[in-house]
């Protein structure tokens, strides 16, 4: 098991393995995304209160929920960096930060557009909205911290600590709608009964979209991590060979 762990930590091994994964990921994203978007835009019936605006949910909810997964991932990668000094973990941590910032930013933006219609305001200093905004600034903070510190080792450690500490915000975002009286509604309970609130016709396409966006997240993360591997290992022989092999740039 430890051998496997050490092997997984080898950037070269990850780079070569991800070469094999990427085509599969692209294909599954294409399928899931097409089915999900088609379903969400054309098939999902109008909501009894919101009408067609329910279609915003099929973007907002997947993006927001995956934005919440980014921070714990960064915290885990940070812990591995600090304890086992695994090179790959820090590369992943560095790559996930801008993606997390994008996801959080898009969750805030789509939420604002939705809120403008449903609530009558695009922003409120609501516990859910405020804690998500804090997460956005935490991602920006992690990116800024890394570029502010010259020594890569020190930068990696500082970012890892900030990621671990900042992860405390995630349960606050998640449960804010239950702990406090917020404008944002609590999470929906899905029902298997077709004649009930939140029936399958509402949540099955949502699950398709969530999986599509998860696969997209994996692709985006792998692409950035691969670039980071190339950049940091550019003096090692295997990268030099790879550069010479690469004909069509």
């Amino acid at each position: 098991m430890w051998l496997w762990f050490a092997k997984l930590g080898s950037p070269r091994w990850f780079y070569e393995l991800s070469d094999k994964w990427l085509p599969w990921l692209y294909v599954s994203m294409l399928i899931l995304m097409s089915v999900g978007l088609f379903w969400a835009l054309l098939i999902v019936p109008e909501d009894y209160q919101q009408g067609q605006t329910i279609r915003i949910m099929y973007i907002h909810v997947p993006v927001a929920s995956i934005s919440l997964a980014c921070f714990p991932l960064m915290a885990v990668a940070g812990t591995i960096t600090l304890v086992w000094k695994m090179k790959l973990a820090d590369m992943v941590a560095q790559s996930v930060a801008p993606i997390g910032a994008w996801f959080t930013g898009l969750a805030l933006a789509t939420g604002a557009i939705w809120g403008d219609q449903i609530w009558g305001t695009w922003w409120a200093w609501d516990a859910r909205l405020t804690s998500l905004l804090i997460q956005f600034f935490l991602f920006i903070g992690v990116i800024a911290l890394r570029s502010a510190i010259d020594s890569p080792d020190a930068a990696a450690k500082a970012c890892a600590v900030l990621a671990i500490v900042g992860a405390i915000n995630v349960p606050i975002i998640k449960y804010s709608v239950e702990w406090w009286n917020t404008l944002h509604q609590p999470a929906s309970n899905f029902s298997i009964d077709p004649v009930a609130p939140n029936p399958p016709e509402v949540w099955v396409p949502l699950l398709v979209m969530i999986s599509a966006v998860y696969v997209f997240f994996a692709i985006a993360l792998i692409l950035r991590t691969r670039n980071e591997i190339l950049q940091r290992e550019r003096r090692s022989q295997w990268v030099i060979d790879l550069v010479t092999r690469e004909k069509n740039v």
Binding site: G51, I113, I240
Partner: protein, 70 residues
């Protein structure tokens, strides 16, 4: 459960009429987000490969020059 909600393309683009802008703005932002995060790493990779190729070529030229000088 599997019924089309719109009978024509213009009806689909209208999205009920009242919140056309809101709904399509969200989907447009999503499209921008997906394309940026897939294309940006490709650009970075391309840039990296070009840079490394240039550097390798320069190093080779430099070493061949020093050889002829000696």
């Amino acid at each position: 459960m599997f019924e089309f909600q719109f009978s024509s393309l213009s009806e689909f683009l209208q999205m009920g009429g009242v919140y056309t802008f809101h709904i399509w703005a969200v989907y447009l932002l999503f499209a921008v987000f997906i394309s940026y995060n897939l294309l940006q790493p490709r650009m970075v990779r391309r840039h990296f490969l070009l840079e490394q190729k240039r550097r390798a070529a320069r190093d080779e030229e430099l070493s061949s020059k020093t050889k002829t000088q000696n």
